[in-house]
């Protein structure tokens, strides 16, 4: 009877993220110059959707990766570097015959998962703080990326790239289909498994989870490993879009920082145990749309970073309204 209430309480952050995205994207769409020129028809809409999707999925994958770790009350500052590393690797090995390409893709995914697993192992068995660990491993991954590609270059299997960044049946952006596929294959089984629930439990309270017999270490380890895997899918897609590999420090750092912003916009609590990767995806898409809003309103692109910053600032300050509900001042301190 009251089941839906619990469901609603659990999914509130995710639903809010979807809401923000829908509002932002509607504003974006209704002011888009292509719509103004040719009205609403399938071809125009699918073109706009393809452009927006191809911009958005990169951050969506990285934000998904970040959300898995954040759910366990950790943080992954190396996620952008895993993304960069797998981009550089993909520009070497995702080439040649279909068989070679498939092997290359698997290799890239394996390296991504390995990066995540190393983070997880250091955090769990080394008992270091995630933030310190991932700063250090991020430097290592970036170093390897730089060794692979001291200068931007390389190539990628063009057929595969065009297939995955194009449109299916000339209507639907393929990158969104892949994103949905990854959600179905990775996120849903994970979040419904004992391990996935364990990750939430660890995020809420490490000690209580341990006392209740939750497989704490396994949950954390799987969350970190999957996080690396998701970041590497993002890296693959970056290669498909750009056809090159580039080890750029600024771009890696930007993706790390944006992924945290997207995760927060997506209703995932930084204190752990709350939110979902789906929320993070919509947070990422909303964040990208905010950046593009200026473009449709014909502002000077110089103002884009400031606009993005101010919107981010307002978005995170909205959380402060929860303070009005506090009855006891001690609740301020969590």
């Amino acid at each position: 009877m009251k089941e839906w209430r619990f469901w609603f309480a659990e999914q509130r952050g995710t639903l809010l993220a979807i809401g923000i995205f829908v509002v932002m994207f509607t504003i974006y769409l209704t002011n888009h110059p292509a719509i103004a020129n040719s009205g609403y028809n399938v071809a125009t809409l699918s073109n706009i959707a393809q452009t927006a999707a191809n911009k958005g999925v990169l951050l969506a994958f990285v934000a998904m990766a970040q959300s898995l770790v954040v759910i366990t009350a950790g943080i992954d500052l190396s996620v952008g570097m895993t993304f960069t590393l797998t981009n550089c690797l993909a520009s070497w090995i995702v080439v040649g015959s279909p068989l070679q390409t498939a092997g290359g893709v698997l290799g890239v995914l394996a390296v991504g998962a390995l990066c995540g697993a190393i983070n997880g192992a250091i955090v769990i068995f080394g008992r270091l703080q995630p933030i310190v660990t991932t700063i250090a491993t991020g430097a290592i991954y970036f170093g390897i990326a730089l060794a692979l590609r001291p200068f931007p270059g390389g190539s990628v299997n063009g057929d595969l790239a065009d297939l995955l960044t194009g449109k299916i049946f000339d209507v639907f952006p393929a990158s969104l289909v892949v994103l949905a596929g990854v959600v179905v294959v990775v996120w849903i089984p994970f979040s419904r498994s004992v391990t996935g629930r364990g990750a939430y439990a660890v995020g809420s309270s490490d000690l209580a989870a341990y006392m209740s017999g939750v497989p704490v270490r396994r949950a954390k380890f799987v969350a970190y490993t999957l996080s690396g895997l998701l970041a590497s899918i993002g890296g693959l897609f970056l290669t498909f879009f750009t056809y090159t590999g580039e080890a750029a420090l600024a771009s890696g750092n930007t993706y790390t920082l944006f992924s945290i912003a997207a995760v927060v916009l997506g209703g995932v609590s930084l204190f752990g145990g709350k939110g979902s990767a789906i929320g993070a995806i919509f947070g990422a898409l909303a964040f990208r749309t905010i950046g593009d809003l200026l473009f449709v309103f014909n502002f000077d692109p110089l103002w884009q970073p400031l606009f993005q910053g101010v919107v981010l600032m307002i978005a995170v300050s909205l959380g402060a309204f929860g303070l009005f509900r506090v009855r006891n001042r001690l609740e301020w301190f969590g």
Binding site: A261, P305, W332
Partner: protein
Amino acid sequence: MTEAARPVREAASRMPAFLRRVDPAVATAFGCIILLLLVGSLYSRNFLSPEYLLQQLKVASFLGVIATGMMLVILLGQIDLSVPWVVTTGAMMASFASSFGPWGVILGIPFGILCGVLLGLLNGVGVAYLRIPSMIITLATNAVAQGIMVVYSGGFSPKDTASPPMRYLATGFIIPALPNAVIVWAIVGGIAVFLLTRTTFGRAVYGIGNRERAAYLSGINTRRIVMLTFAMSGGLAAVGGVLLAGYASKAAQSMGDAYLLPSIAAVVLGGTSILGGRGSYLGTVAGVILITLLQSILSVMQMPESGRQIVYGVVIVGMMLLYGRERLVR
């Protein structure tokens, strides 16, 4: 656990008093510095020369000033991710003010620092009064500062150059052979040590880092302390920016990017707990020198950038595994 710890404690009790008080983390960090110097001297005979060491100290002082602010914030159990663009804002605004005649030159440095303090205050209000996680609000402040600076500079490095006082502050010698930047770091460090060990403010910072709730119940105005600390961190980042601009004789777009992670790493390598409430300034000094020397040695060895990054990461993980591990709870 206690059984295993007993022999260690007995051994400790036989040590002289001044050794017993030494934090093992700080001792390890200084040990590593000596090790680095020895390794470096094998590669180049100039490595132990006073000129070279002073040069290193000068380079370290930029990181040192920034890491001081970072340490204060980390002691609270928070983090300041707005360092990159607060550094740049401080540098750009100080250079900008200097283009307005002699008064601008005089007021340029205070103006740059004031901008940093204001950005820090924004962080502080968000963390202390709005209870936004510091990782988020400082990120947002960083984005806002970047936005303002991009609009100001038009996306390019600004034309204004550092004023003579800024250059003097970074590269001049008020005392022969001792670079001014080092003196600035010494003054900043001295004030930080005084604040942390001799004032109620310092006690409150450590108290909040250990448990904010308890600090609040003992009558500390925790919110004001948190806000002030973030403002100080912003101000110190801006001082770092002013010094850097003086050193390079102009401000540049991404000059602060290279200082965020090293400053956190320096603080943490110096034995300050990232969870807050524990750590000494001496450790931060050790961490800053350690990181600067490491970077310098790797470039003396002519290692490519990729190798440098890898060694850098491995050293941080390795040293933290040596002494930065959390206690096993269960």
